[in-house]
C-alpha cells in the first residue's frame, strides 16, 4: 500500500470514529453551519464536539503547519482527506473567513509571532473574522478608499466607514484596509487587524433583496489600533489584499465545494420530461457545469505546481459565479410557481428564491465580473491600453 493509501485508511478510520452521525447529514441551511467565534451558539452538542475534535486533530485546517493549529498535511493528503470526508458525508467542522482568507495571507505575509497567535485562534474556531475592504462609493475601485488611520506613534487612530462587511455584526475581529498615506493612491494603504469590540467600532446590517442581512455597514470612530497589528509592510497593504482576494475568488467561484458535479436535472426529471426547451437549457448547463468542475480541478493542480498564471483566479471567479447564477435561474424555472413562494413551509421559507437572489451578489462581491474580465484581458491576455 502506498503511503497515500495508508494515510487514506487512517483518515477514514479517524473520521468514522470521531464524526458524530448528526454531522454526516446534509447541511439544510445556514443555521447548520459552524462559524465558531466568541459569541457562536452551537446548534447541537454534536456540532461542538465535531469542531473540537477536528481542531484537536488539526483537521479544521488540514494543510496548515502543526505549529499553527493545522495537521501539516501535504496537498495530496489534504485532497484524500476531503475525498474521505465527502464519501462519509461529513459536514465541514468549521467555516471561517479566517481559514479561507486571512489565514493564507498571514501564512504569506505575517510575522512568526502573528502566525502563532492568530492562526491557532482561527484553527480552534475561537475568533471569527470579517473583512473590511469596500467603502461606500468605492465599489470595484478599491484604491479610492477613504478610511484613514492617523499615525500616533505606537498606534493609529482610525476613522471612516466600510460597507459589505460580511457578518460584521457577528465577527470578533476584522482585517481591514486603512489608508495610512494620503499622498500615494496605490501605495498608501495598510492592512490592519483589530478587535470589533474596540471602542469606536459599530455595525449596521444591510437588508438584501433576499430578505437576509449577511452584510453590514461598519463605522470607525477614533478606533485605536496598536502598530504591531499590521500585516505586511506599512503602506503595502494592497499587496496583502490582492493576495487575499485571489483566495476569496476561489471561494466564491465555488471551487472549495464538494465538486458539485451532480446534475440538478435528475431530481427534476418529471418537470423536465414535459418541458423540452427547459430540458435543453438544463442539458447545456450540465455541459458547462461538468466543464467548470474539470476546469477547477485543472486550475488547482496547476496552481499547486506553480504553473497557473497569477491572475488566473480572476478567470475562475468570473466563470464560476456566472455559472452559479445560471444554475439558480434554472432552479427557479424548474421549481415553477412553488419556487416563487417566499415564506411558506412548503418552500422551506422561500429557500430557492432567497438562494437565487443571493447568488446575484456572487458576480459583484470580491471583484465584479467586469473587473475580472478587465484583469484577465490585461494581465493574462496582455491586451493593450490602460
Amino acid at each position: 500500500m502506498s503511503e497515500l493509501e495508508t494515510f487514506r485508511a487512517e483518515a477514514r478510520a479517524w473520521l468514522e470514529e470521531n464524526c458524530p452521525p448528526e454531522m454526516r447529514t446534509p447541511v439544510k441551511g445556514d443555521e447548520d453551519v459552524c462559524w465558531g467565534g466568541r459569541n457562536f451558539k452551537f446548534q447541537s452538542e454534536a456540532q461542538k464536539l465535531w469542531m473540537e475534535r477536528c481542531a484537536a486533530k488539526g483537521y479544521t485546517v488540514p494543510d496548515w503547519p502543526k505549529a499553527y493549529g493545522g495537521a501539516g498535511l501535504s496537498p495530496q493528503e489534504a485532497k484524500v482527506l476531503r475525498q474521505e470526508m465527502a464519501k462519509l458525508g461529513c459536514r465541514s467542522p468549521l467555516n471561517s473567513f479566517g481559514i479561507w482568507m486571512l489565514g493564507p495571507a498571514l501564512l504569506q505575509f505575517g510575522t512568526e509571532e502573528q502566525k502563532v497567535h492568530y492562526l491557532n485562534q482561527i484553527a480552534r474556531g475561537e475568533i471569527r473574522w470579517c473583512q473590511g475592504y469596500s467603502e461606500p462609493g468605492s465599489g470595484s475601485d478599491l484604491v479610492s478608499m477613504q478610511t484613514y488611520g492617523e499615525d500616533k506613534g505606537d498606534h493609529w487612530v482610525v476613522n471612516g466607514q466600510k460597507i459589505w462587511t460580511s457578518y460584521a455584526d457577528q465577527a470578533d475581529w476584522i482585517f481591514c484596509l486603512v489608508r495610512t498615506d494620503k499622498t500615494n493612491k496605490y501605495q498608501g494603504i495598510s492592512f490592519l487587524l483589530f478587535d470589533m469590540e474596540t471602542p469606536g467600532v459599530s455595525t449596521k446590517p444591510i437588508k438584501l433583496i433576499s430578505g437576509n442581512s449577511p452584510f453590514c455597514e461598519t463605522f470607525f470612530d477614533n478606533v485605536v489600533v496598536p502598530k504591531h497589528q499590521i500585516v505586511g509592510e506599512l503602506n503595502r497593504g494592497w499587496d496583502v489584499a490582492k493576495y487575499l482576494l485571489g483566495h476569496e475568488r476561489e471561494m466564491i467561484s465555488g471551487m472549495g465545494g464538494d465538486g458539485g458535479v451532480t446534475s440538478i436535472g435528475a431530481a427534476m426529471k418529471a418537470v423536465l420530461a414535459e418541458e423540452p426547451v427547459l430540458r435543453a437549457q438544463m442539458a447545456l448547463f450540465d455541459v458547462d457545469n461538468l466543464t467548470f468542475r474539470a476546469h477547477g480541478e485543472r486550475f488547482m493542480d496547476e496552481w499547486k505546481t506553480g504553473k497557473a498564471h497569477p491572475a488566473y483566479s480572476n478567470l475562475m471567479k468570473y466563470v464560476g459565479t456566472e455559472l452559479n447564477k445560471k444554475r439558480n435561474e434554472l432552479v427557479m424555472s424548474i421549481g415553477g410557481s412553488q419556487a416563487l413562494e417566499w415564506e411558506s413551509e412548503r418552500s422551506n421559507g422561500g429557500s430557492k428564491a432567497r438562494n437565487w437572489l443571493r447568488t446575484k451578489a456572487n458576480s459583484i462581491e470580491g471583484g465584479t465580473s467586469e473587473v475580472m474580465l478587465n484583469v484577465v484581458s490585461k494581465r493574462i491576455l496582455e491586451m493593450p491600453g490602460a
Binding site: I163, I209, S337, L340, L357
Partner: protein, 378 residues
Amino acid sequence: MAMTLNDDQTMLRDSARDFMASEAPVTHFRKFRDMGCKDGFSHDLWKQFAEMGFTGILIPEADGGMGMGHIEAGIVLEEIGRNLSPSPFLSTSVAAVEALKLADKGMRERWFPGILAGETVIGLAIDEGVKHRPEKIACKAERSGNGFKLSGHKQFVLQGTSSDMLIVAARTAGAAGETDGLTLFAVEKGAAGMSMEAARLVDSAMAAHVTLDGIQVDADAVIGEVDGGWSVLGKLLDAGRVGAAAEMVGVGSGAMDMTFEYLKTRKQFDRVIGEFQALQHRAAHLYGEMEGARSIVLKAQSLMDDGHAKAELYVAAAKAKAGLACNLAVREGVQMHGGIGMTDEYDIGLYMKRDRSLNEFFGDAYYHADRVATMNGY
C-alpha cells in the same frame, strides 16, 4: 394596422403613465409590501383604476365597458409594470374578462358591473402543478343534481383569497392531456367545500393553493359550453399571456431606464461607468432586446384584436420574448448597479422579483418557445 400607437392610444398611454406614476409608484408597492398586506394590493387603488376607466377596458360597450382591445389593455399593463403597481388588473380585467365576454348574458350581468366599479376581484384557478400545463388539467367536474360537483387542487391562483369569484377549469370529460372535455366554471367566494391557503410570493403578491372538495355548482355557473372549455380557456390564457408580456415590457423598461440612468451618474475609477465601452455595448444590446419585445407584443396584441388566425403563435412568441428580454433587463440591471443593487433599499431588486413572477405566470419563455415550435410544425 400600423405598428404605431394612434392618437387615442397615445392619449391613453399618457394618462395611464401619469396615473401610475402619481398614484401607484414603487413607493406605493413598498408600503403595501412592508405592512404585510394580506391582499397584496390596495382596494382603494382598484377603485381608482375603475374611476380611470381601466377596469372595464376590455368589457364591451354594450355591457357598459370601454370596448377597447388588447393594445389598450397592454398600454395600461405596461405602466403597471413600470411602476410595479400591485393590482388584480391582469387576472380580473384582462384574462377573466376575456372569458366572461364569451359567457351568457346572465353571467356577464352578474360580474361586469362589479369589475367596472373596481369592487370585484376574480381569481384564475387553472394551474395544478408547479408549471403551467393547462392541457394537463385533471380537476374533476362530475354531473350532480342540477349542476356539477368540483373536486381537485389548484395553485398559483393570484389574489385567490381576495377574490369574489374564481374561474375554475375542470374536466367534465376526457383525461388529463386531452383538450376536449374541459369546462370553465364561475365559483363564488365562500362556496362550501372550497378551502384556500395563501402564500406570499417573491414579489409580495399573494397566490393561493385552492382545494375543491366536492363543491356543488349550478349549471349556470358554466362559462361557455360544457366540454368545450378549451377554446374559452384559450382566449382567457392568450389574453393573460399577452397581458403579462405587456406588463413585462413595462417591468423591463422600468429596470432598463433606471439602470441607464445609473450608468450616467455612477462614478468608478474616476469615470462615469456609462463611459465604459463594455457596458455601453451590453446596454445597446439590451435596448435592442427590449425594443424587439415591445414590437412582438404590439404585433400579438394587434393580431388578437383582429381575431387573426396567427394570433396564438404571436402571443406565444411575445410571452417568450418579453420574458427573455425582461429577464435580461433585470439581470443586467442588478449587475450594473453593483452592490447597492443587492440591497432591499434600492428598487432594482424589486423589478427582478416581479420579473420572475410574471415570467412564470401563464407559462414561461421555454414553455412558449416549445409551443412556437409545435405551431410552426416541428
